[in-house]
Amino acid sequence: MIKVENLVKVFGPKRAVDGISFSVERGEVLGFLGPNGAGKSTTMRMITGFILPTSGKVTVGGFDMLEKPIEAKRLIGYLPENAPAYVDMTVQGFLNFSAEIRGLHGDAKKRAVNRAVEMCFLESVLHQSVDTLSKGYRHRTCFAQSIIHDPDVLILDEPTDGLDPNQKHEVRNLIRRMGERKAIIFSTHILEEVDAVCSRAIIIDRGRIVANGTPSELRRKSESSGAVTLRVSGVNAAALTQKLSQIPAVKRTTIVREEATSVTVRVYPKGDVNGALAESIADATQGLRIHELHTEEGRLDEVFRSITLSDTAKSEEKK
């Protein structure tokens, strides 16, 4: 549905987006991750046709955004960053306008507005002016605008920003449900959201894609992925480390916490041992009281930090 080829955007001396390519099919929810200023919003603005790329190509549903912008835009629902809305209108007026500009009139318009209002829980503020709304409601009003024509493609720039935890949960569920039938791209800073919602995630740093995969694929890149966490009692930390370092598959051991009654350590494997490490540790620690023993899946925030930080560090070295 969405195809992005070699997209470049140059603002003065800065290459805000530097050769990004990817595609999203129907039924996929693509998470867009990256530090602030990485080029997430700029990429989304080019996909929706708000800003024009310096070079590269965007096609939505087979329509080129530069050559057939109207046809392409018809397929897209867009929630811009900060969720702008016409402050001088009521919620209902704003949604009516959004439906009309999307070519919905009469009964079709009424149905579309009612559906969007229901999905975004806006009944209670329907006749309120947009500038009197709280941030959460305003956000949902703009979100309702983006889904009013039941688009095939949804582009959401930080859709859960500024919402309370319950609202975040609702919006995530909504995205996941809609993702079954649509192609969705959404950007976020919240990594747990990627797990909760995305079928695939892309990490962008300084205008380039630095990682692309399913959430579990990305997690496997994390340093702690495959490591074993162990909590035992009846032995001191030094002795335990000594004992564990004799296992051939162990690369190194770090002490996580040392308490009066127990010791927690993390054991990193040499190469890929696929869970065999936990078994050998269990064998080696026979006779001790094991409170906890599990293999880490890896953490997205670790991956995120190591990828985006190391890149920044590299660029600083170059200078």
Partner: protein, 247 residues
């Protein structure tokens, strides 16, 4: 067909936006008060003893519009950019031209409404004497076209900035040029120093020169073409500026 539907939708929204804020009412009241005051007190309508509106009423319009039209036009694009709704508007399935024309039409219709509400002046002059209502009608048409030209200029300045005050000031200055280029004292001044050809060129840019004919009841195609071309050119410039924001 769908182009007009889109323009209509945008025009409707813009008009509703005017009347949902006090701006519309304040504007109309001030405009009507100014019209009344200048026609009857300053313009000497009664003292003149003529059944005509040209001098006491329409003569003031270029000057009223100088401040009032930029006040109407300043928010058109500046506000969209400040609030961020421009991003919504330009990612909807409409062309930038439809948005530009829709917004312009809304403000122009609004100015037309303000103008229509000056009808008591027409009733008064008809009650007191037998004016040529054809001349009055022609002058109204000219006045509305002139307001459209000012408004289109305000569109440009509004698209240039996200600050409404800056937009207002710049468009007042631009519109002042459109007036002064044909304002008799200024024309006398420049005709002393410049050759006639140049003076004619400068005065041909003035709204006053082109409004003159309408006030006399003459619907001259050249005058109509002048106002329409100012409008089209200004809206085109607006589209260029909007596009440059997206590049």
């Amino acid at each position: 067909m769908s182009a007009w539907l889109n323009i209509k939708t945008i025009t409707k929204r813009e008009l509703a936006a005017y009347f949902s804020s006090p701006l519309a009412y304040v504007f109309i009241i001030i405009f009507l008060l100014l019209c009344g005051f200048f026609t009857f007190m300053v313009g000497g309508f009664f003292e003149m003893g003529q059944a005509s509106l040209a001098r006491p009423f329409f003569d003031w319009h270029p000057w009223f519009y100088l401040f009032l039209v930029p006040a109407v036009g300043m928010r058109l694009w500046a506000e969209e950019r400040r609030v961020g709704t421009l991003e919504l508007l330009l990612t909807m399935p409409i062309t930038p031209w439809q948005a530009i024309v829709g917004k312009f039409l809304a403000s122009w219709l609004f100015l037309g409404l303000a103008l229509v509400l000056t009808f008591p002046v027409v009733i008064t002059v008809n009650y007191l004497g037998n004016p040529d209502n054809g001349v009055i009608f022609a002058a109204y048409v000219g006045s509305w076209l002139m307001a459209g030209a000012y408004l289109a200029v305000s569109c440009i300045t509004s698209a240039m900035t996200r600050n409404q005050v800056v937009s207002f000031i710049v468009s007042v200055v631009a519109c002042l040029f459109l007036i002064l280029a044909g304002f008799p004292p200024v024309v006398r001044l420049i005709s002393n120093t410049f050759p006639t050809l140049l003076v004619d060129l400068i005065t041909s840019f003035s709204v006053i020169t082109h409004f003159e004919g309408f006030q006399k009841g003459i619907l001259d195609s050249r005058d109509i073409v002048f106002f329409v071309s100012v409008i089209v050119f200004s809206l085109f410039t607006t589209s260029v500026i909007l596009r440059s924001h997206r590049a």
